[in-house]
């Protein structure tokens, strides 16, 4: 491999956060510049090797220039930012519509053992099917979006779609697992745990390895879905007010707006929006958990509010750690090439 080929390969690696078409055009532009300079130096009397060395030296470090280009092109367009903001809003809309369907059919605000609920109990199956249908459509749209994101090789809006599917899938698995018989096998439990961990980490790893913004979008979305789950659960005991769960609608809209701002903001402002989104997630988790905290404590169970609040921040921390590892890897490779 010649110095030039090696250099262009490094350049291509440094453009990792850009989409395929952008990367191809950038490579063509850069390669054209370099080839033209090499030719000019050769015409001036330099040998091929001298011309390549001089050109590469004058052009600058591939990882530095590639990083700057990635920063320019890594910023999603308005359309891409809207797509990135859609999953939490969509999830909230699905949950909210499903609940509105229930409320409109039953006229119930209070649930549980109220006389009105007893009167509606025979229709619970029909209601459940209707609510599930709304949720299923939401789930299908999310899965479809995630598949398109994968087929298009992870565009800037991919993270929230992959994360929403992973988090919602994890939630569904947890609910299903509550009634499942215990595994009674340490190795099997470990294997299941590892698969679940990989399922959660995969969207973060795929996006954060490309660029920190995509990773943050993915990490924040996971926390957002968790917050939505807890807010919709706030209708449960001891409150038993179904209308409380409708708070998920404004929450989802706020979350979507914050994701849009994180996607579009310049690096300095981005951190302010990230912090606000994290605080919103933590706040929503704590409020959602507070409703049934008293009931859990009365039953001798631990208060899980702070645990879930911490859990909502973990994906963001994981995304930052992966991006930092990617940066360190790039620096190390850059030094190797320079050496």
């Amino acid at each position: 491999m010649t110095v030039l080929e090696h250099y262009l390969r490094e350049f291509q690696l440094a453009l990792g956060g850009c989409d395929e078409a952008t990367r191809r055009n950038l490579m063509e532009e850069i390669a054209g510049h370099i080839e033209e300079h090499v030719r000019a130096l050769q015409l001036a009397g330099a040998s091929e090797e001298e011309a390549m060395d001089e050109t590469v030296n004058r052009f600058g470090a591939a990882h530095e220039i590639g990083g700057q280009l990635r920063a320019v092109h890594g910023r999603p367009s308005r359309r891409e930012a809207l797509l990135a903001a859609a999953p939490p809003a969509l999830m909230a809309l699905g949950s909210g519509l499903s609940l509105l369907f229930f409320l409109s059919r039953t006229g119930l605000v209070l649930g549980g053992s109220t006389p009105a609920w007893q009167a509606w109990k025979p229709d619970a199956g029909v209601l459940g099917a209707g609510m599930l249908a709304v949720l299923a459509v939401t789930g299908l749209v999310l899965v479809g979006g995630a598949l398109v994101a994968l087929l298009r090789r992870l565009p800037p809006w991919a993270g929230p779609w992959l994360s929403a599917v992973a988090a919602a899938g994890f939630g569904a698995l947890t609910i299903a697992g509550e009634d499942a018989p215990p595994l009674n096998n340490a190795l099997l439990e470990l294997a299941v745990g590892l698969v679940v961990l990989a399922w959660i980490l995969l969207p973060l790893a795929l996006t954060a390895w490309r660029d920190v913004r995509s990773g943050l979008l993915a990490g924040l979305t996971m926390g957002m879905i968790l917050a939505q789950m807890l807010v919709t659960n706030a209708r449960a005991l001891p409150l038993e007010r179904f209308d409380v769960a409708l708070l998920v609608l404004p929450l989802g809209l706020f979350q979507g707006a914050l994701l849009y701002l994180v996607a579009r903001a310049d690096p300095m402002r981005r951190w302010a929006w990230v912090l606000l989104a994290v605080l919103l997630n933590v706040g929503a988790v704590l409020v959602g958990s507070a409703v049934w905290r008293d009931w859990r404590v009365l039953q001798g169970r631990p208060d899980t509010g702070f645990y879930f609040a911490f859990l909502s921040v973990c994906p963001v921390i994981a995304a930052l750690a992966i991006s930092a590892a990617r940066w360190g890897w790039g620096q190390w490779r850059g030094r190797l090439v320079a050496g």
């Binding site: 055009n25 063509e28 532009e29 510049h33 300079h37 470090a61 220039i65």
Partner: protein, 117 residues
Amino acid sequence: MKLRHQLRKGSTETLILTLLSEEPMYGYRIARELETRSEGYFQMKEGLLYPALHQMEEDGLVRGEWRSGQGARRRKYYHITKKGHRILADSVAEWQTFAAQLLGLIGDAEPQAGGVS
């Protein structure tokens, strides 16, 4: 050298817009023009031109257009936009004011022993 680096960094956009206001150019040509016209003063790592050009394209100051060049390789020519012309006029006026004020202050001052960096 540090001062020159900072001045160059602050003036890259104006320099590129000045060249493109004369005619559309592609990256390599811009680098050569900058080098020739400034007799090497504005020479920099040439690759750094591209993040600047692409940022200007994102900001709507220039518009890129691929054209088939000599041989198989295409070239991306940059055209200055109306917005670019406006920004160029503003920044030229700003630089001229800056240079006049600076020269008014230090115009006749002799460099101290040890020279300037």
